[in-house]
Amino acid sequence: MSDNLEHSFVKQLQENQNIIHKICRLYTNGDDAHKDLFQEITIQLWKAFPKFRGDSKFSTWAYRVALNTAITLYRKTKRSINTIEFEGRHHFLNDVEYDYEEEEQLKLMYKAVYQLNDIEKALIFMYLEDKDYQEISETLGISEVNARVKMNRIKGKLKKILNPLGI
């Protein structure tokens, strides 16, 4: 029975692991920290798995546990962002036609997102994942209206980081 549970968990996690990778990418810098957080999220998911009923998708359930682990349970705090490390770590231009301006913009944008605090990152993450405001508000435990307001503020903050002089 428990072997079955374990097998089913490992299989589903293996298929859905990119969710966790994305959260690790957002909340850590450096490969070691990434692996460390990935492991902690995996442990938390496994501990919570017996209660997973399957009335929601595994991925939806995993989002919540993974975000909670990154924001709340994970103890190690991130160090300041190292630009070189950052550029070396992201290969987001592998299969894009080479557009210098776009590349620059993307780089700046990723950098700006890294400067947000943990809660703001959670909102941005769910926005990037195309989650609606209802799910965002349910996941974080804030009202839907306030989630929208906050999201707009974050966009403003990003704009300011990208263009501090407001030109």
């Binding site: 374990e6 968990f9 490992v10 299989k11 293996q14 692991q17 990119n18 990778h21 994305k22 990418r25 990935f38 492991q39 902690e40 995996t42 442990i43 938390q44 501990k47 919570a48 209660k51 997973f52 919540r64 546990v65 975000l67 909670n68 682990t69 924001i71 709340t72 349970l73 994970y74 103890r75 705090t77 992201h90 290969h91 987001f92 592998n94 299969d95 894009v96 913009q105 993307l106 944008m109 990723y110 997102v113 605090n117 943990d118 809660i119 959670a122 926005y127 990037l128 994942e129 195309d130 996941t139 974080l140 435990g141 804030i142 009202s143 306030n146 906050k150 966009k155 990003l158 704009k159």
Partner: protein
């Protein structure tokens, strides 16, 4: 915001850029120990309960054996504090059990903060009890020492003040050390909790 749209497009496209973790690696991971703050709070709290409860056994009994009244009083306090300790442990266990990683983020944070508060109150209660008993002992000792009969009032007051001062310094030191442990442990959580609460203001 067009930069954000660009980011979203890139974000969703780059799903496959992560080094994939194999099933056997996941098997290994789920048998490793968690290093989450909940686990640390649990371990530290249990240590605190055990330490504080064994502290009463360390208090020497012989120095009070002459006074029936204080002896009896401390006996009562002893039994009372076992009851209080059990009550706190029950509260702690209840709060600890309510921590669920599948609740929403705010609720999860509140559960952790509550669990931790239980232990904090227990510590505060114990430190005040220690202060109270120590004061009792100081005055008892002074009253039964030669300086009391010598009727040297300044000396008596001086001795009392010094003792009280030393006890207070010790307790403040213990309290600060305690705050430091949890300050380090919960710094991130508290910061994020404040941030989350601000959104709903």
């Amino acid at each position: 915001m067009k930069e954000l749209d660009l980011l979203k497009k890139d974000w969703q496209k780059n799903v496959n850029s992560f080094e994939q973790v194999s099933e056997s690696e996941i098997y290994k991971m789920i048998h490793k120990r968690s290093s989450s703050i909940v686990k640390w709070i649990f371990i530290i709290s249990i240590i605190e309960f055990v330490l504080l409860n064994s502290l009463s056994f360390l208090f020497p009994d012989e120095q009070m054996s002459k006074s029936g009244v204080i002896d009896a009083f401390i006996d009562v306090l002893d039994y009372l504090s076992y009851g209080v300790a059990l009550f706190f442990m029950y509260l702690f266990y209840k709060n600890y059990r309510s921590i669920s990683v599948t609740s929403n983020t705010k609720k999860l944070m509140e559960c952790i903060i509550n669990t931790r508060k239980t232990v904090k109150y227990y510590i505060a209660y114990n430190l005040s009890l220690i202060l109270f008993i120590s004061l009792l002992l100081v005055f008892y000792r002074v009253q039964h020492s030669p300086i009391w009969t010598s009727a040297d009032t300044p000396k008596i007051i001086f001795t009392c003040l010094i003792s009280v001062f030393l006890i207070l310094v010790l307790l403040v030191f213990v309290w600060l050390f305690y705050q430091l442990i949890y300050g380090i442990l919960l710094k991130k959580l508290n910061r994020n909790y404040v941030e989350l609460k601000k959104i709903d203001l």
